[in-house]
């Protein structure tokens, strides 16, 4: 709306209202790759990630951000599907399928 320029404005809250998060994308991903549920956030995938240095790719964060209703597009943009994350995951999550499925159903949050 047209208003007075105060030189400052309301900033969007960074806190996430967990009960109001739109989990549609996560639920769809869950249906395609149920392994997403067993992530224990150890971060192995992130530190081993080949694409990490270029896009901040982190499967851990992708999984978490999806559950917090945040956009994950940028992180996924440099994924090379090299499979290292799948190799190191202690919970045996098929992270490559997870990423591919997500790319497939992806809609910007």
């Amino acid at each position: 709306m047209e208003g007075i320029d105060f030189g400052f404005g309301l900033s969007k809250s960074s806190s996430v209202q967990l009960d109001k998060v739109d989990l549609t994308l996560y639920r769809r991903l869950e249906a395609l790759e149920p392994g997403v549920r067993v992530c224990m956030a150890c971060g192995s995938c992130t530190s081993t990630c080949t694409a990490g240095p270029w896009s901040g790719m982190s499967v851990r964060k992708v999984i978490l951000n999806l559950q917090r209703g945040k956009d994950v597009g940028r992180m996924l943009s440099c994924c090379m599907l090299c499979g290292k994350c799948t190799m190191v995951c202690p919970r045996g999550i098929n992270t490559r399928h997870l990423i591919l499925s997500l790319c497939r159903i992806y809609e910007k949050v």
Binding site: S77, G83, N94, H97, R104, Y106
Partner: protein
């Protein structure tokens, strides 16, 4: 010889005629449709190949060998080979002889489709003539051949294990109609010809049969109904043929020329892919071959089912099957027809739409290549001229110098055009950017002076998780005195193969472009790879002018031949596992064995080389989960254990870490074994 009917016609030929016209019409329509579906350049290429004498001859030869004689099947399984070739070749010969008869005896009837088929009904011939006796004998002989084949086929249907097949496909309803009508054709022909033999003549099969029948059957009454029956089953067979697995008979004749023309699958369903699908005979050889068939739940995910589901248009199953596959290539290796199971699957994957596509444009490769080019011992000279654009700029450069380096062996060589040649260490180094020139590298390779080149070692993503492999390769390069740099030691890009096999082809290509920048920018003229996944990708998909792409197995093999590496044979006996990508993927079977044989004892597993069993770790599969992979790995290990070797050797970091997870005996990479027994 006399014709029995002046009209040359009887209504019983109608079922056959209808079937014949239908199937021919269907096939012609199909051929035009497929030609239309081919991309323009592919179509042109295909048509040109048909009239090029060399390929045309090859086509005829291949069709004869594969479609009629089933040579490939003979090699694999004699009984199955005999069964198939007896039916196919026998039938072909009967048709050929039929035409021959018509040509010889009533050339004016040659335009009638049915005449050669029902010759014995229309033409009364006496076997007493030499021609008749020979022809009739041959006819009966081939009929007998076919009947033996049919007999075997019936046994196979009931007990496939007699044929060494553990599993086979269940035919669909139409397949059954086709199958039973096929089975019925030849006994009915025998019956019809036997009943007619006292009129139209016959040979060792038909005449005795005729005599037997005449003892208790009013022979002439049975004459026409048997010919009707024969015609009807022929008609039925031909009408259902396009909708059954027997479509592979005409389709394969299309597939062979297309393959010989060098076509590739460009569309998941149309054109070449369509021919592949139709060419699948549904024999199910791929079921037993598929490593996934270690588990019952995955049996229906091998290539034969992919083809079946594509024919049925069951999209859900097509997706499941194409995503699950390990892309190990074994089904293709064993397939009698040569259906490209892995490529078909990648094509299905590539048709998928994604809401998000990777974008590698923002990746800055300069630091990666700069770090590498600075690390070469000839860096001082090289950086000036090489830099990022150096590879191209210097391409024309020092071909001669590199060639000279070849001639003077491993001694120090001064580069000419690049400005500075630096002799470093024991091995001579042709400095200067020009060494990266295409001719230079080719010259170097031809002269066998790998030591004079700048070697980039690309370990790939997987090797980072099996550090022992990278360490061993570097140690061997050191021992051989190579001037090398570990290109992706700190950070590196993926080769793009995982993206490619996931069907994300555009993304893979953009990643390839990035990697090309790194490699060309590094100033290397030889790229050594420790990972067969990368090697396949680099050798097939990369445009690296002036850079020789080589797997470490081949590279070290050359070193051994040049005497730059020597090994002391240990008493450990290894069984060598052929990694899918290195063996079936790149055809490298011998150099790893040669190397291993020098460093240790070597044993062979029950299934090896082309038939090696995938370790189960493959990146090819998108959906196979960890538990299912474990079963595959254990099955693959069983095959290796069959050799009774002390330990397992392989040449792929992914196989290595997959096997190590479950193996009860040591698993080592070839490089590790070589390094351990290397004698300086």
């Amino acid at each position: 010889m006399r014709e029995r009917f002046a009209t040359g016609f009887d209504p019983f030929v109608l079922p056959f005629l209808i079937g014949m016209v239908f199937v021919l019409g269907y096939c012609f329509f199909g051929i035009f449709r497929i030609l239309y579906q081919l991309p323009k350049d592919d179509r042109r290429r295909f048509l040109v190949s048909l009239i090029t004498p060399r390929t045309a001859l090859k086509n005829v030869w291949d069709i004869f060998c594969n479609c009629l004689l089933h040579v490939k099947l003979w090699k694999r399984n004699k009984l199955l080979g005999f069964m198939h070739s007896s039916i196919a070749f026998g039938w072909f010969m009967i048709i050929l002889l039929g035409h021959l008869e018509v040509f010889i005896y009533c050339p004016e009837r040659v335009h009638l489709f049915y005449y050669p088929i029902f010759f014995n009904y229309f033409v009364a011939e006496n076997e007493s003539t030499i021609g008749g006796a020979v022809l009739f004998f041959l006819m009966d002989f081939f009929l007998l051949l076919i009947l033996t084949g049919i007999g075997l086929a019936i046994v196979k249907r009931v007990r496939s294990r007699f044929f060494g097949m553990r599993r086979t496909t269940r035919p669909s309803l139409l397949d059954r109609v086709g199958l039973y009508s096929l089975w019925a054709i030849f006994p009915l022909r025998l019956l019809a010809e036997s009943f007619t033999a006292h009129i139209s003549g016959g040979s060792f099969l038909t005449i005795p049969a005729n005599w037997v029948f005449r003892q208790f059957l009013g022979n002439d009454l049975n004459l026409l109904p048997t010919w009707w029956a024969y015609s009807i089953v022929l008609g039925v067979f031909m009408v259902v043929l396009p909708f059954t697995r027997y479509m592979h008979i005409p389709a394969e004749m299309m597939l062979i020329p297309m393959r010989n023309a060098g076509l590739r699958i460009r569309h998941p369903r149309k054109g070449f892919a369509k021919v592949q699908v139709l060419s699948c005979p549904g024999c199910g050889v791929c079921i037993d071959a598929c490593p996934m068939s270690a588990q019952k739940v995955n049996i229906k995910d091998c290539t034969v089912y992919l083809n079946r589901q594509i024919r049925r248009g069951n999209e859900k199953r097509i997706e499941e099957i194409s995503d699950k596959c390990l892309l190990c290539g074994k089904c293709e290796a064993v397939c009698q027809v040569g259906v490209e199971g892995p490529r078909m699957r990648v094509a299905q994957r590539s048709a998928r739409r994604y809401g998000l596509t990777p974008d590698f444009a923002a990746i800055d490769t300069a630091p990666l290549s700069r770090a590498a080019s600075a690390a070469f011992s000839g860096a001082a000279g090289a950086t000036g001229a090489a830099g990022a654009a150096g590879a191209a700029a210097g391409a024309a450069g020092v071909a001669g110098a590199a060639g000279a380096a070849g001639a003077s062996g491993a001694s120090g060589v001064a580069g000419a055009a690049g400005g500075a040649g630096v002799a470093a260490g024991a091995a001579g180094v042709a400095g200067a950017a020009g060494a990266a020139g295409a001719a230079g590298a080719a010259g170097a390779a031809a002269a066998g002076v790998a030591g004079a080149s700048k070697v980039a070692f690309f370990s790939g993503c997987m090797t980072r998780l099996t550090p022992s492999v990278g360490k061993a390769v570097c140690s061997l390069l050191d021992k051989a005195g190579a001037d090398y740099v570990w290109l992706d030691r700190e950070e590196g890009l993926c080769c793009g193969r995982p993206l490619l096999t996931a069907g994300r082809i555009d993304a893979a290509i953009s990643l390839i472009r990035k990697n090309e920048e790194v490699i060309l920018g590094s100033g290397a003229d030889t790229l050594v790879l420790s990972c067969p996944i990368c090697y396949k990708m680099f050798s097939e998909r990369y445009a690296l002018p002036g850079v020789r792409v080589v797997s470490y197995a081949d590279y070290f093999d050359e070193f051994v031949q040049q005497g730059r590496l020597r090994f002391e044979k240990s008493d450990i006996c290894y069984v060598y596992h052929d990694p899918c990508e290195l063996g079936r993927g790149c055809g490298i079977y011998e150099s790893p064995r040669r190397l291993l044989g020098q460093a240790a004892g070597i044993a062979e597993a029950e299934k090896n080389r082309e038939e090696s069993v995938c370790c189960g770790g493959s990146l090819g599969s998108l959906t196979l989960d960890f538990a299912h992979r474990e079963v595959i790995t254990r099955k693959s290990l069983e095959n290796l254990y069959s050799s009774r070797a002390d330990a397992i050797a392989t040449a792929c970091p992914l196989c290595l870490s997959t096997f190590r997870r479950y193996s009860d005996r040591p698993v080592r990479d070839l490089a590790e074994i070589l390094d351990a027994s290397c004698r300086l």
